[in-house]
């Protein structure tokens, strides 16, 4: 085996720095993230979990139309944004609300899509978070464009582009990785392999040794990590971002995690998997293990824990309160945002609707 292959193929086993019992293990290629980062990460995990569970509760109460929870995947969600600087970009999917919020987007704005009052509710330029994307893998190639534009402008922006295991099967995944490689675009492709695409298990999605093995086919270094180990993820994603920033081109990172809950509240996971399969993953919970580690190391005093809980409670309240009032939606918006200058046809149609609504009111 040549060094090209050593450079591009992932580690034989997913990188794991802290195991599920909270024990740290040295790794030949990755250093332990600084303690304060881990403590900060812990607080974010707790908050992320709370966002997931609060949002799910709000769906049950009818305040949200649908919520694809990342419960159990919070380490991925948080790591993806912790490795970014302010000017960097995040390209999230529908499942990445926790990432979006941890990047600083207002949670209520972030939930606009899932609430059903508009498509994207936040200003993508405010925190450099692209609109959440539903058509799978399509956003990955946008990420390449944003990254390439940054380089043309001489900026050292890095883009983290997220997708699921299922999305790697789409043609756009392929085209995005290849374009990024050929143009040496500073994109870190981050696959959250949660073992399912709705009901379809990974084994029916791919028979590759790992999804990280897809990198070499583009000349892109691939790496895999335990997706429930924040420390490992920070190390791996951190290094990937650094390399991308340094001009080494795109990087591919696969996180092995698990979709603990159903695809969304509308899904019935009982139709396609046994609860038995889920149980062991509860023991691999990203929060539990980091908490165990930090506690052992004496890094998690009560004050920190309490602040984390309070922050989480606060965002939960913000969600509940923010989603309480019926949103105000304006039918005129339907025509407003399509073109910078509405076409004569749209102006006519807007007038038609205005007139119709006026008559209804009268």
């Amino acid at each position: 085996m040549t060094t090209v292959e050593e450079r591009l193929l992932p580690s034989a086993e997913p990188v794991r720095l802290i195991d599920q019992d909270g024990v740290f293990h040295d790794h030949p290629s990755y250093l332990k993230p600084a303690s304060d980062l881990l403590v900060d990460g812990y607080a974010q995990l707790v908050k992320g979990r709370r966002i997931n569970d609060q949002a799910s509760a709000l769906v049950r109460q009818g305040r949200l139309a649908v919520y694809p929870s990342s419960h159990g995947q919070e380490a991925c969600q948080i790591a993806a944004t912790m490795v970014l600087r302010d000017g960097d970009w995040l390209f999230p999917t529908y499942r990445d609300i926790v990432s979006i919020v941890s990047r600083g987007v207002d949670p209520i704005e972030a939930l606009t899509l899932l609430r059903g009052d508009w498509h994207c509710g936040y200003d993508p330029y405010e925190r450099n978070v692209a609109p959440q994307t539903t058509p799978l893998a399509t956003q990955l190639i946008h990420a390449v464009g944003v990254a390439h534009a940054a380089r043309l402008k001489g900026e050292d922006t890095v883009v983290v582009a997220m997708c699921g295991d299922g999305a790697t099967s789409e043609g756009d995944f392929h085209e995005a990785l290849n374009f990024a490689a050929v143009f040496k675009a500073p994109v870190v492709f981050f696959i959250q392999n949660n073992e399912y695409a709705i009901s379809v298990p990974l084994a029916k999605q791919s028979v590759a040794p790992s999804l990280a093995h897809k990198g070499i086919g583009y000349g892109v270094p691939g790496e895999q990590a335990d997706g429930n180990d924040l420390a490992g993820l920070l190390a791996v994603l951190g290094q990937a971002v650094e390399k991308a920033r340094a001009g080494e081109g795109p990087q591919l990172v696969e996180a092995h995690t698990y979709r603990v809950q159903a695809h969304t509240n509308a899904d019935d996971a009982g139709r396609y998997r046994h609860e038995d399969e889920v149980t062991p993953w509860l023991d691999r919970d990203p929060i539990k293990r980091l908490e165990a580690y930090l506690t052992q190391e004496g890094l998690l005093d009560d004050a920190v824990k309490q602040r984390a809980e309070e922050d989480a409670a606060q965002v939960a309240t913000a969600l509940r309160d923010g989603l309480m009032p019926e949103p105000v939606v304006d039918p005129a918006d339907l025509f407003e945002h399509l073109y910078t200058e509405p076409t004569p046809q749209l102006k006519e149609q807007a007038a038609f609707l205005r007139d119709e609504l006026a008559r209804e009111e009268a």
């Binding site: 139309a65 649908v66 899509l113 899932l114 059903g116 009052d117 508009w118 498509h119 539903t134 058509p135 799978l136 299922g166 999305a167 099967s169 789409e170 043609g171 756009d172 695409a197 709705i198 009901s199 379809v200 029916k204 999605q205 791919s206 509308a266 899904d267 019935d268 139709r271 396609y272 949103p327 939606v329 039918p331 918006d333 339907l334 025509f335 399509l338 076409t343 046809q345 749209l346 149609q349 609707l353 119709e356 209804e360």
Partner: protein, 328 residues
């Protein structure tokens, strides 16, 4: 013979089941159609009944799904594939337009593709973006495709059976919001085939031309109009391609007035075609220009605003009122 009260979803499921029983070469595949039975449960139980070789999940890639169906059909199978939502059929557009539609023509009939592409489509279900598109016009504009849209439970069964038996590729548009509509039906009863429109209600004053999700709305509008003293004919197209000029034009000539009701954006759409071809053929029978009640020329709105996009009874009645009655 035996009347059963079932939903459109159940009728579609039964059609698949019966087709698979009747013909070993019928294969059903797509995203989540196996164990899950599809996100709308249209394929519920098929893997259990017919095995993984006959009904199976694929990797998540629509171009792959349609392209694989092309290959399977080339080699003796009758694939019935599901696009999870019609907007997720767009990644397969090249396969559909450049291969599915053209293969028979390209090979002078040597290769025929007896395959069905099922597309849950249209809105009215509170779906977020990309989940409520009405993409039938793209397919209707593509020569070589047959495009069908049921509006009743009985038709859902019949048309799907006939689509699967059809020797050429059929794009089968399933109005999502009617999935849960229940009807008392006799599935053994013979219904008209692909290419035939049906007059669902007769009335002398004007004709409503609808297909798929707008048929029940048109019928409701006709009901209200009747109460107000105006008798409307309602034509359910059932088949967009081929188009039943005979039935549609007969109704329009008889009534002298017509409104086309469709959920898709109107511009360069199936509804434009209906207005154009009916006007071309019935010009001198028309007392007024044919009106269209369609979706606006905007992306499908978010759930909280979708009611404004959907053709409703009032909008249809307004359009009917607009047919220059004072002139006649």
């Amino acid at each position: 013979m035996t009347h059963v009260k079932i939903t459109m979803a159940q009728a579609l499921n039964q059609a698949l089941r019966d087709a698979m029983k009747a013909d070993d070469t019928v294969l059903v595949f797509g995203e989540d159609v196996g164990a899950l039975g599809g996100v709308f449960r249209i394929t519920d139980g098929l893997t259990a009944e017919f095995g993984e070789d006959r009904c199976f999940d694929t990797p998540l890639a629509e171009s792959g799904i349609v392209g694989m169906a092309v290959g399977l059909a080339m080699n003796g199978m009758r694939p019935v594939v599901e696009m999870q939502f019609d907007a997720f059929g767009y990644p397969a557009f090249e396969q559909i337009v450049s291969h599915v539609a053209k293969m028979r023509n390209r090979t002078r009939g040597k290769i025929t593709l007896p395959m069905v592409i099922r597309m849950p489509y249209a809105g009215g279900i509170g779906g977020v973006e990309h989940h409520c598109d009405s993409s039938e016009s793209y397919y209707a504009h593509t020569p070589g495709l047959t495009v069908v849209a049921p509006a009743t439970v009985a038709d859902a069964y019949t048309l799907l059976r006939k689509a699967i038996e059809f020797p050429d590729p059929v794009v089968f548009m399933e109005p999502k919001k009617l999935y849960w509509a229940k009807e008392e039906v006799d599935l053994t009863e013979s219904q008209p085939g692909i290419g035939t429109a049906v007059v669902r209600r007769d009335g002398a004053d004007a004709t409503l031309i609808a297909y798929g999700p707008t048929v029940p709305v048109a019928l409701e509008a006709a009901e209200v109009a009747a109460a107000e003293g105006r008798q409307l004919t309602v034509v359910d197209l059932r088949s967009i391609v081929p188009f039943d000029d005979v039935t549609v034009c007969a109704a329009v000539r008889r009534t002298g007035r017509a409104v086309v009701v469709a959920e898709a954006s109107g511009f360069a759409s199936v509804s434009s075609e209906i207005v154009a071809r009916v006007t071309e053929r019935c010009f001198h029978s028309l007392a007024a220009p044919i009106r269209r009640v369609t979706g606006f020329d905007i992306p499908y709105p978010p759930p909280k605003l979708e009611k404004h996009q959907l053709p409703g009874v009032d909008r249809i009645l307004d359009a009917v009122d607009d047919l220059q009655w004072e002139d006649s």
